[in-house]
């Protein structure tokens, strides 16, 4: 069956008739389109609010988006592989709970527990990867189960929101260097990581496996190895998301992780990643996360009466995605 599941991405692709120069542009469409969407939204936003083009705005929005960005980074890697990871919900909850209950006011201790939390996140991913490969189960089901197990563990450790984080930890979260908040710096590091990672052998292999599993296998990619690596990275980034989240909330929250599952997928998909694997990248996902954040800001400054708020945010999202989908379609059609 594994063999038959291969080719997914290729088989879904619509007949590609005649390549040409415009092809390059269309190939870049998955990233260009969210970029255009973001530009448009920011333009509207800026026309409604003062000071949108300031560092303050950047700092605030980045802090607001960063937990989602980190969660969605792991999800992006998994989606590129052609899988899905629901367990990040559990890992994030557990991560915040461990941080809030274990961190003490001693930096060395905090470093130790930060490492432990990151290792736990990665180990969760290893377990997911092994189960998915060894039992040949759908990622959806395996990670649904591990999500539940991890959430339960978080609730056992801390039944309701609570605990506390050391002052210096919180100070880092709201810190500012050279006018840029810690969130912006972290984001910069993340982008650097991605620029590096996507060109590593592992990065290429993950994308390749999502693009065509059978071909990747025939080319020497180990199914077990790639799944372990993919889900471990996802777990690792979920743990990072949890750690960053605690700098914003100052507490452990045993149920908070579920809030990031669907949005992490949504951010990636808005950013141009296909659920069938193989195409797209983190930059799109980051833009997707910003789009979701900016929509929230927009709805606020539009000063919409309360019940209309969800409608308006849904409609903005729909129009943006619809417009870009149509643009991409017609671009692809005009390719003759």
């Amino acid at each position: 069956m594994t063999m038959l599941a291969a080719d997914r991405r290729e088989r879904r692709a619509m007949p590609d008739l005649s390549p040409s120069l415009k092809a390059k542009l269309v190939d870049r469409a998955p990233i260009l389109i969210p970029v255009a969407m973001l530009v448009l939204l920011v333009a509207i936003y800026a026309s409604l609010r003062e000071g949108v083009f300031t560092l303050d705005e950047l700092n605030l929005d980045t802090a607001a988006a960063l937990t989602l960005v980190l969660a969605a980074t792991g999800q992006t890697i998994v989606l590129l592989r052609g899988g899905i990871d629901l367990s990040i919900g559990g890992t994030i909850s557990l991560g915040t709970v461990l941080a809030a209950t274990q961190f003490r006011d001693d930096p060395a201790h905090v470093v130790l527990w930060t490492a432990i939390i990151l290792v736990i996140g990665a180990l969760v991913g290893v377990v997911n990867g092994v189960l998915i490969t060894a039992l040949r189960l759908q990622p959806f089901l395996v990670t649904l189960a591990t999500w539940s197990i991890l959430s339960g563990t978080a609730l056992i450790i801390l039944p309701i929101d609570g605990g506390g984080l050391p002052a210096f930890w919180m100070a880092f979260g709201s810190g500012n260097w050279l006018g840029l908040s810690s969130a912006v710096w972290l984001l910069a590091v993340l982008v650097l990581f991605w620029v590096w990672f996507r060109r590593t052998r592992l990065g290429i292999a993950i994308r390749a496996t999502g693009s065509n599993e059978r071909s990747a296998f025939l080319s020497g990619v180990s199914p077990l190895g790639i799944n372990i690596a993919t889900y471990a990275l996802s777990g690792l980034f979920a743990a990072m998301a949890a750690l960053y989240l605690t700098t914003q909330t100052g507490a452990g929250s045993p149920t908070i992780g579920k809030d990031y599952i669907l949005p992490s997928v949504a951010a990636a998909v808005i950013g141009g990643i296909s659920l069938f694997g193989g195409r797209g990248g983190l930059i799109g996902t980051i833009i997707g996360a910003y789009i979701l954040t900016i929509i929230g800001n927009l709805v606020f400054v539009l000063s919409i009466s309360s019940y209309w708020q969800p409608i308006v945010s849904g409609v903005i999202l729909l129009i943006a995605v619809l417009a870009s989908s149509i643009a991409e379609r017609s671009a692809r059609r005009s390719l003759t």
Partner: protein, 328 residues
């Protein structure tokens, strides 16, 4: 006294009847009565996540309001953001689902007193002896834990009462009914059910399973009151968590902004009356001052009004009608 105060209400969740009544009542209470024209109220709803409420609060803080009222997604996780608001000179009042940040007021029902009275009532119904189910509410929610603890602490004083089952009612009818139904299948005998929700779901589960109706504790929704009043043999007590907590929060904010003396304690408890099928006949020894009304059709139970209406409807300082509370 010139310009109206700019006050934001940040609500983390709109998906139930209580929250909607809460918002409607807030809007009504700045349109008439003593606060008419004094408040420019803006309601911001977010879709249930801590992150969304943090982001929304940040937006609110940037627009420099006089006060922010918060029905919070988390008792802890909003604290750093709330601290920011306080530091910016904004009056912050958390209500209903309150926060622990000391700079913000916390206006809520008395979650110690309510479960204590309810459990005490149950014990008296059972004459100190029997088997009960206890609703645990929603996993991870602080109020759920408080209510459960409140129930258990009182029940522990009655050695004859045994908690034989727990379920998560999640403050929704479906889960309450399904949860009780499962427990009924597992346990041939049960003598009382302490819910955190509607109670009517528990009664319906008893009826569906063909069991006798046992005493039930619940909260004062219209559906709970009417079900108790209309069901043959039902015995109930309903605690109240008034939806007009929002109005009270607005009032408090205006008072503070007006420069009236601030409350001594950041914690402010609002007590609504209890409703019971045997109201008037039974009094609490733990809280002798607790008012316990008798459930009566037409007085505090209205079969022709929406089942999700929360009682009591109006605070004392402004008259809110049932129609206004029910909206529509």
């Amino acid at each position: 006294e010139g310009k109206p105060y700019k006050i934001y209400l940040s609500n983390n969740f709109v998906g139930n009847d209580w929250r909607q009544q809460m918002e409607r009542v807030a809007e009504v209470s700045v349109k008439k009565g003593p606060l008419a024209g004094r408040v420019d109220l803006k309601i911001e709803n977010v879709e249930g996540t801590v992150q969304a409420q943090i982001n929304s609060l940040n937006n609110i803080i940037r627009s420099k309001p006089d006060a922010i009222l918060i029905d919070a997604a988390s008792a802890e996780a909003l604290n750093p953001t709330i601290k920011k608001a306080c530091d910016a000179g904004i009056v912050v009042i958390s209500f209903d689902q309150v926060v622990s940040e000391p700079c913000a007021y916390a206006l809520e029902s008395d979650w110690t007193r309510i479960p204590a009275v309810l459990a005490e009532w149950m014990a008296s119904q059972l004459n100190g002896k029997g088997k009960v189910f206890v609703d645990r509410g929603l996993a991870g929610a602080p109020i759920s834990a408080q209510l459960e603890k409140g129930y258990l602490d009182v029940l522990a004083k009655y050695p004859g009462i045994e908690v034989i089952g727990n379920y998560n009612g999640e403050y929704a009818l479906g889960p309450e009914q399904a949860g009780v139904a499962s427990l009924l299948a597992a346990h041939p005998e049960v003598d009382g059910i302490l819910t955190q929700g509607y109670g009517s779901g528990a009664i319906k589960a008893l009826q569906d399973a063909g069991r006798k109706i046992v005493p039930v504790t619940a909260f004062s929704y219209n559906v709970a009151a009417t079900t108790c009043a209309q069901t043959e043999g039902a015995a109930c007590i309903l605690g109240s968590n008034p939806a007009y907590l929002s109005s009270e929060a607005i009032k408090l904010a205006v008072d503070i902004l007006d420069g009236k003396p601030k409350p001594a304690d950041r914690h402010i408890l609002v007590n609504g009356d209890f409703l019971a099928t045997n109201g008037g006949e039974w009094t609490s020894t733990l809280y002798p001052d607790a008012v316990i009304q008798k459930i009566e059709i037409g007085k505090n139970a209205w079969p022709d009004r929406p089942p999700g209406l929360t009682l009591p409807i109006t605070p004392e300082w402004v008259e809110i009608t049932a129609e206004e509370a029910a909206g529509g």
